[in-house]
Structure formats: structure tokens, C-alpha cells
Amino acid sequence: MKHACYKSIVFSLLAGTVPSLFAAPDASRQAELLYLLKHDCGSCHGMTRQGGLGPPLLPENLQGRPQLLMVNTVLDGRPGTPMPPWRGELSAQDATWLVEVLRAGEGL
């Protein structure tokens, strides 16, 4: 969580000057998102992110994937696959933060 704390400090410093899209969700929202990641994303990607019907989401699986592509996959899904769009339930800010969590292998 050290990493996330550091990030949220940086984000909060920037918050006044950049659009709120780039701010990290607050602590209670972060807890909600981690729970969603573990239990709901986990129903396809595995609770420990090692994959299932959906692909694994461990840091080594995500290396070299463009950030924007991953955020858009979360928000809009992947047509033709079971990956649903999470827009409506997740904001762009939530999705961006979740992708960071996945890349860093946090909360495992």
C-alpha cells in the first residue's frame, strides 16, 4: 500500500492544477474497488488474478500493454469476449486506479 499512498499524495498535490480524472479515489472507494477486483473481477480472472475463463492479470502478464488500452478495456469491455463494459459502475478515475493496482501487483 506504500506505493498507493505515495501516489495519492502526489495526486492530491496535483489535484488543484490538473483535471480530477487523474486524482486517485479516496480511501473508502479504494477499499470498495479492491473488494470488487477480488470477488467480481476474480470470478473470471481468479481471486488471485492467476486467470480463469478470463486471462491472468498479474504484473508480468500486463507488461508492455498500453495504459489507455487497459483502461478502455475495463470501461468498455472487449466485444466478442465475455469481458463486459464496467462503465456506469466504474469511473475513468476508478478504472485508471485499478489498472495501476494490477500493474503493481498490489492487494494480492
Binding site: D40, M47, T48, L53, P84
Partner: protein, 416 residues
Amino acid sequence: MNGVYVSRRSCRSLLVYKSALQARMVRWFLASLVLVTLSQFARADDCLTRGSGDLGIVIERASGSVQIIDTTAMTALTRVTGLGDVSHASAVFSRDARFAYVFGRDGGLSKIDLLCGTLVKRVVQAGNSIGGAISQDGSLVAVSNYTPGGVKVFAADSLELVADLPAQDKAGNSSKVVGLVDAPGQQFVYTLYDAGELRIADLSNPAAPLVTTYPGIGRLPYDALITPDGRYYIAGLFGEDGLALIDLWHTGEGVQRILDDYGRGEEKLPVYKMPHLEGWAIAGRHAFIPAVGRHEVLVVDRHSWKQVARIPVHGQPVFVVARPDGRQVWVNFAHPLNDTVQVIDTEQMKVVHAMQPGKGVLHMEFAPRGEHVWLSVRDLDQVQVYDTQSFQRIARLEVEKPSGIFFTARAHRTGL
């Protein structure tokens, strides 16, 4: 006693001695019996001496454990730990209903002794797995795998590997395996998710399995079921409308598509949780199935396999299970509507009752004769028991992040 004189007195004293000796022998016998019994208990780690027909297990998905439950007393007996990642685990039972085989997400196959409350053996047989089945005669346990794809078959007693059935398509690409069930004739039937193939493996001779492949059954089959009589195997398709059906009495007729006109041209909703077909509800001449990406339960005629009704429900169904008498069908729902359970009356074909047990209702298991249903409510860390006539909650058990609930009555049913 001819030729030996025994006075009346000495005869009496002999009798007294004899009865004293008998009493002592009885005491010795009882003492040795107690000793033997005690030593047996010590050896068996305080195993229960009772029937196991009313026991079951509940998966604790986040803590790698199961709780063994007594469905008569409605209590948890003990917790068995060390099962690895059981976040999507399912279980089958040995035919004597003493042992549970738990299939973990991490490829672990665990054998649990329900009476001793112990983990008898655990093998990690693949990188990532999804479920399993036990053979008709109870001698083989098969596990279906995602990584690497395929089915591995183990001896039920020792968990030694007996057969390895890879799941490669014609091009040699490995496929995830879903919908593995047992079928009469010592067969296992399963479906290849990526390849869109159905396979029947005959394990009558475990040393030389006979595998028959039915390619091109449809895009992305996500789960399958076998009817309780073991005759029809039906795979749900995610990638297109309809389901793929094979009649195991007439496999020569191949795989046919049913319900392929269902929902044509209609926009599907995003699916936040894949439906499960395992608990497919067969009630009288109708089958009730979850519609993919729709807030509906489909009703199908079991003879013509034509759709007869679409029942609107609260959300996207995950499990659609019939009470054993077929009068009611209970439905739970995908995220974010998974706090609700609805009950369909199978004669009226409509929802007659709804309840909110709590957020994250993941699974439902009926008592074998249907008087009670057990629900796992993940976010409350509870298993709740309901009376299916009055819909009153009659018990609550503390269970950490419960998911699958499996009763030993499954030991005697095909496909479960």
C-alpha cells in the same frame, strides 16, 4: 459327571467360583474393549462414528478452507484448511459419502474425510482448473483444467494419476475445458471453450481411454450440464445464441442446436457473472435455464427442446435450480443485483416470492427432499437456511466468505 463325586456344597462353591470367573472375564473383556476402542479413537483422531448422509461442505472461498456441516443439526462441525485457492471451487463425493473431493482454482485436488475432519491428500495437478466429476462407479475422479487445458483422471482412493486427456484442437492449440460431467457407462463428457468442441471419454478401461470428438458445436461454450437421468448433455454458448445438445443414447446423431432462435437480433446486456448450468432446473416436462445477458429465465419443453416461455426476473440469472420436487425454481443473480433471490412457481411460470438475504448470494443447495434451502451470502460471511414452504429463515451459520455449498446426497446423483 459320571464317576466323579461332587458334594452339593462343593458344587455350590464351584458354581460361585465359576460365576466369579465369568464376571471377571466379562470385566476383562469390557476393559479390553474400552482399551481397543480408545486406541482406535486415538489412531483415527477422534473421528465421528455416525452416518454421513446428512453432512455437507461449504467452501470458504477467500481462506482456502471448507467447513463441514451437519444439515440436521444445522451447525458447522469443523473447518478443514490448507486447500489453496478455492475461489471458484466445487466438490463431488465418494459413493460411500464419506469423502469429498474439492476442485480448487489453483489446480489443487483435495480429498477430505468428512467424519475425521481431515485433509487426507492433496495433489496440485495443473496450473489452473475449474471443476471435476466422479465416475459412475466411484473409482475415478476427473478434473477439468484451464492451464494447461485438458482433463486429468485420478484414482479416487489414492489420487494417483490414471489418465491424461489433453484438449487440443486440430491446429494443436490447447483449449480450456468446461462443463465436465460424469455419464453412464463410465464416461466423462466435457466441452472445449476455445475450440468449440464437445468430447466424450469412455474410461471403461482407464489404461486406454476412448475419446470421441464432436467439433463445431458453437462459439465459446461456457458451461454444460447433464440431465439427471444421464441422457442429454447440453452446453451453453456465450459466443452465439442457443445451446448445443447431444443425446447420449444416440451419439451417432451428433450434436444438435436448440433454442437458436432465442433472442435473435436483440441486444444482450453485459454479463458480469457467467451463468452456471450445473444446477439446471428440470421440473416436470419443462427445463428452466438462465438466459445469458438477459433478465430472464427460459422455459424449454424437454421433449421438443423448444422454448415455451420467458419469465422476467430481477437480474441476470446465475443459478437456476429446482427444488427436488420440481414445484419451485430458485434463482440468484449476477453482480450488482446479487443481493436478491427469487422463487418461480413452475405451474404458474412466474415469480411468486422474492427475498434479500444480503449482498453476494453466490450459491444455493437444497436438502435432498427439498424442505430447506441453504444460501451462501458472501458479504455477510453467512450461510442462511430457509424453509422452502414458509420462506422463513430458520438458521444462520458464520462462514468466512462462503461460496459453493455441497451436500453428500450428491454422491448418488449423476452429473453432480
